[in-house]
Symmetry: C2
Subunit: 340 residues, 2 copies
Amino acid sequence: MKLASLKGGRDGRLVVVSNDLAWYAPADAIASTLQAALDDWERCEPMLRAFAETLEHGGVPRERFHEHDAESPLPRAYQWADGSAYVNHVALVRQARGAEMPESFWTDPLMYQGGSDSFLGPRDPIPFADERWGLDLEAEVAVITGDVPQGASEQAALDAIRLVMLCNDVSLRSLIPGEIAKGFGFFQSKPASAFSPVAVSPDSLQGWRDGRLCGALEVELNGKPLGEADAGVDMTFGFGRLIAHAARTRKLGAGTIIGSGTVSNRGPDGGPGRPIADGGAGYSCLAELRTVETLQLGAPNTAFLKAGDIVRIEMRDERRRSIFGAIEQQVAGEQEAASR
Amino acid sequence: MKLASLKGGRDGRLVVVSNDLAWYAPADAIASTLQAALDDWERCEPMLRAFAETLEHGGVPRERFHEHDAESPLPRAYQWADGSAYVNHVALVRQARGAEMPESFWTDPLMYQGGSDSFLGPRDPIPFADERWGLDLEAEVAVITGDVPQGASEQAALDAIRLVMLCNDVSLRSLIPGEIAKGFGFFQSKPASAFSPVAVSPDSLQGWRDGRLCGALEVELNGKPLGEADAGVDMTFGFGRLIAHAARTRKLGAGTIIGSGTVSNRGPDGGPGRPIADGGAGYSCLAELRTVETLQLGAPNTAFLKAGDIVRIEMRDERRRSIFGAIEQQVAGEQEAASR
């Protein structure tokens, strides 16, 4: 089952989308918004599934689905918590700045509470940021949960996963060290994230295994491949573990979004991954590329994002069909920002 | 204008409440939930104000308002960001654990992103926590904002404040050092917070000045006064500054809750405040009391909260009438937790 929220109002309008992303049909009669469906999932899910099935067979009035008409599946959410499940990525970034990584990072998930009051749409521009802030993308996998009781087991947490999406966790790298030093976590360094046009139920994902999404996460910058790391590889903590971590001391409300953190694969020798041009899996954010450059050349070679840059994040199935639709965002210029 | 959300569904039912908290009238006809009113404030506010005025004069059918029927005004929210505006509190806590406090803390607000997916009601039990986690209350003032554009000035931020509440920011003290060391901020150490039964518009608050709420924040533990610090005193950063800080790199969606951090007054000599029994203003959390004990006696004397303890947080006007209603929460026992 594939669901999307078409633009309209603060929470969008819930639609079911065909598997090939070509068609949609409004699901208003079942639930007006995705959050409303998640709030009442036991009732809504069977109806949405049946409706999606009928759409698949052309049995309901349908319209062409255009990814640029979609909001993030939850245009705003009650919770967005982002893990750092690809510990390889964390280890690399620390190594480059000469900071030691505690051994516990391999066994105890890192997770931060993100802002969820208004996400960017998957084709919305990334608002202009001061270039000194070090604007970066982070390509991730994310899941939406139902209600999760406090102290849920990993298996219960896995069972609570309702939908899977891709994410661009926009980050302001130059603001991160200062915020980490303050000890209260990220705030200004994490502006609004964007999610893929379509959210997909785990059972419809061929690559879904043990709370991990196997498959190459394709990341492009200005039309050139930047990364194609396999999201199912080197994910130290699966989503079951991440959700259980989040729910250790409190229940999680339906519609909670949990992120994987930047997807990252090691190189074949266990060291940093190589660029795609060199036959490697590349990188899912600029910080990791800059880290590898720093380790190899002594200094980063690649600039952070600037106005006009275009970021694209997508995952395809075996037949090269887009699974979630593409996040494709241009960095806004100063003028665009002012006119909003 | 005073608003509340009576229990019912995930978002409660919006009502207007009389100034003396004795009466309410359902505001469903204007907006079904407080979030819906905030989403469409320009349209809803004048209607809610007129309705509240009519209620005040007994001109509409009204019912007795019982604080224990109320949810937190926003039973769940799209954003909860908590500052540490009483820098005195931060300085004390650091001093007790021998950690230096950067000078910048006096000029650059500390703020963390909190979980907002399901708050506790003002009379709900605090879910059982492992006693080793160091359960604590934190009595705070909090505001609910409308939409705030990115880069808003302090004045624009002040103008965006819609409602003011009290807050019990429940904290698990023993989990904090570990989470701070990980660098990603609080997550497991900050379970669900609770807010006062009633939210009040700033113009209805006699003590509202320069984005600060003047007046004694009364905190009781098991019926004994713990704190009565003046929330308008020693608040290094007013709410205008806190909101502008939050909005520096991203807009804030309507219904964003911003907290003051634990209210804390210095002693008359500029040092730590004294207990109420010694004629001081006391403390708004146990950690600060334990800190003072550590500084004076070498070790804390007071235990953190345990099952059965009752916490009460309230603020009164000059005539000793409750302004926001009381947060009054009992710490649940293990059995109660299991039966939920």
